[in-house]
Amino acid sequence: MAGRLEGKVAVVTGAAQGIGLAIATRYAAEGATVVLSDLDADRAQAAAAAIGPGATAVGCDVTDEGQVASLIAGVVEGHGGLDVAVANAGVAVVAPAVGQSLADWRKVIAVNLDGVFLTLTHAAGAMAASGGGSLVTIASVTAQAGSPLIASYAAAKAGAVNLTKTIAVEMRDHGVRANAICPGFIDTELVKPHKQTFADALGLQAMGIPDFDAFIAMKQGRYGTEEEVAALATFLASDRSGFCTAGEYNLDGGLRASLL
C-alpha cells in the first residue's frame, strides 16, 4: 500500500531530535520528501542520513527571518514546491514568572512564537503559490491553561495556537490549511532535565507522590511518545484531513479532560 504522504514535500523545523525527528522519520516512511532543519545543522545532517534517501538537512535558526526565508525558498527550488511545513522547533525556560528576567522571557518567545510566525508565514506564501498545502504547529496543552514554571513557554504556545488559527482563516481560499497539535508531556530532552524542579515546585513529596514521573502517570496515564505526535502530524499533513483547518488537536492521555 502506498504511503499516506506519497509525492509530498515537507519541511520540519527543530528536527534534529525529539518530536521533530520522529515526525520527519514518519513522513519519510509515508513516502514524503523531507527536509530536516535545525539550529544544530550537524545533528540534523546526521539525522537525515540515518533516515536515508528522501531526507536532507538544512541548518536554520527559526528566530532569524533571513534563514527561514532561505530555508523555504531552498526547499521550493530544490524540490519544486512545498506541501507540508511543521513548525516544531521549541525551547523552554523553567522558572517562576515572578522575578524572571525579560531576557529569558524573550528567548522563549523568540523561538516558540516569533519562530512559528516566520515558519508559518513563509511556508504559507510558498504553498499558496503552488495551489495549497498543510501547516502543522507543534503547540502544547500548556497553551490552554496556566502552567506553573513555564509562563513564557505556555504564553508563546497560546500565541502560536491563535496565530495558526488566524493563518488558517486568512489562507483558506488559497488552499492552505493550518492546524495546531497540543501534546501533553512527552519524555524528551525538553522535559528530562526539569523533572526535579517541577516536583519541588508542585510539592509532590508533601502530597505523597514520589516523583514527577509518578505525577505524570496520575495525570495523563503515562508519557506520550514522539511517535504518537508524529502519527497525528501525519494525519494532519495528509489529504485525509482535508476539512480540518484552524483546529487545535490535543493528545495528552486525558490530562486536559480532568479538572482534578
Binding site: R4, T245, G247, G253, A257
Partner: protein
C-alpha cells in the same frame, strides 16, 4: 507504512443506516474491521450490513432503550467474539427557536443525543475493558458536533446536547483510562446528509441567505462524509493510542475564526 490499523477490529456503530454513521461503517470495513451496524431503522441496518458483505452485522437498536442497546451490543460481542470500538453516532436535530421548542421535543432530543450515548457507553464498557485487558487498543468515539463548541441559532437543544456529549466524553475518558479504554469526541460542521437537508430551509430563512452560501462563507464548503469517517477511523485506531478525553473538530475553519 499503510492504512490505519483497523484490520480485525471489532466495531459497533449506532445510527449507521444513514448519513455519517453509514460512511463510518464503510470506512471501518474498508480498513478490515468487522462492523455491527445498529439503527432504529432495523431494515436499513440489516440492508447496510449486507451491503458491506459477509462478516458484518445489522441489528436494531433504538438508543432510547437500555434493553435494546444492551441486546444489540451483546449480539455484537457474540458475533465477533468481543468489541474493540464503539462509535456513538445516532442523533437527531431540531431546528426551531428555543422559545418555540416543545418541551417534549427538547427532552426527546436529549434522550437520544445525550442519554443514548450514556446508554451505549454503559452497555459497551465491560466488553471494551475486556478487549483492552487482552491487549487491544479499545476506544469509544462519540459523534458530537461543532454545535457543541459554539452556539448556532435555531439549534438550542441540539447545541446543548452536543456540548454535553463533549463534556461526557471527557469524564468517560478519565474514568475508563485505567481500564485501557480511550474516549474521544468528533465535531463536524455541516456535512451534506439527510439531517442537514432537513435543517437547511430554516437556517436559510433565519440568515436570509441561501443555505449553500452560508456553508461556503462559514466553512468554505461542505465537509464530506469520507472526511468525517477518516477522523473517526484515526481516533478509533491505535494511531491515536494516547489520545483520550479530546474532541477533534473538522469544520473548514468555522469555529476557529472570529468573524
Amino acid at each position: 507504512m499503510s492504512d490505519l490499523e483497523l484490520e480485525g477490529r471489532r466495531a459497533h456503530v449506532t445510527g449507521a443506516a444513514s448519513g455519517i454513521g453509514w460512511a463510518i461503517a464503510q470506512r471501518l470495513a474498508a480498513g478490515g474491521a468487522r462492523v455491527a451496524i445498529s439503527d432504529i431503522d432495523e431494515a436499513g441496518a440489516i440492508a447496510r450490513a449486507a451491503e458491506l458483505g459477509s462478516g458484518h452485522l445489522g441489528v436494531r437498536a433504538n438508543v432510547r432503550s437500555m434493553d435494546e442497546v444492551t441486546a444489540a451490543l451483546a449480539a455484537t460481542v457474540d458475533a465477533f467474539g468481543g468489541l474493540d470500538l464503539l462509535v456513538n453516532n445516532a442523533g437527531i436535530e431540531i431546528g426551531v427557536p428555543v422559545v418555540e421548542t416543545d418541551e417534549a421535543d427538547f427532552m426527546r432530543l436529549m434522550d437520544i443525543n445525550v442519554t443514548g450515548v450514556f446508554r451505549c457507553t454503559k452497555a459497551a464498557a465491560g466488553a471494551l475493558a475486556e478487549a483492552a485487558a487482552a491487549g487491544s487498543d479499545a476506544a469509544i468515539v462519540n459523534i458530537a458536533s461543532v454545535a457543541g463548541v459554539g452556539g448556532v441559532p435555531l439549534l438550542g437543544a441540539y447545541c446543548a446536547s452536543k456540548a454535553a456529549v463533549i463534556r461526557f466524553s471527557e469524564v468517560c475518558a478519565i474514568e475508563l483510562r485505567e481500564a485501557g479504554v480511550r474516549v474521544n469526541a468528533v465535531c463536524p460542521a455541516f456535512i451534506d446528509t439527510p439531517m442537514v437537508q432537513r435543517l437547511a430551509p430554516a437556517v436559510a430563512a433565519m440568515t436570509g441567505m441561501e443555505f449553500g452560501d452560508v456553508v461556503a462563507v462559514k466553512q468554505g464548503r461542505y465537509g464530506t462524509l469520507e472526511e468525517v469517517a477518516e477522523v473517526v477511523a484515526f481516533l478509533g485506531s491505535s494511531e491515536a493510542g494516547w489520545t483520550t478525553g479530546s474532541h477533534y473538530v473538522l469544520d473548514g475553519g468555522l469555529s476557529g475564526g472570529l468573524l
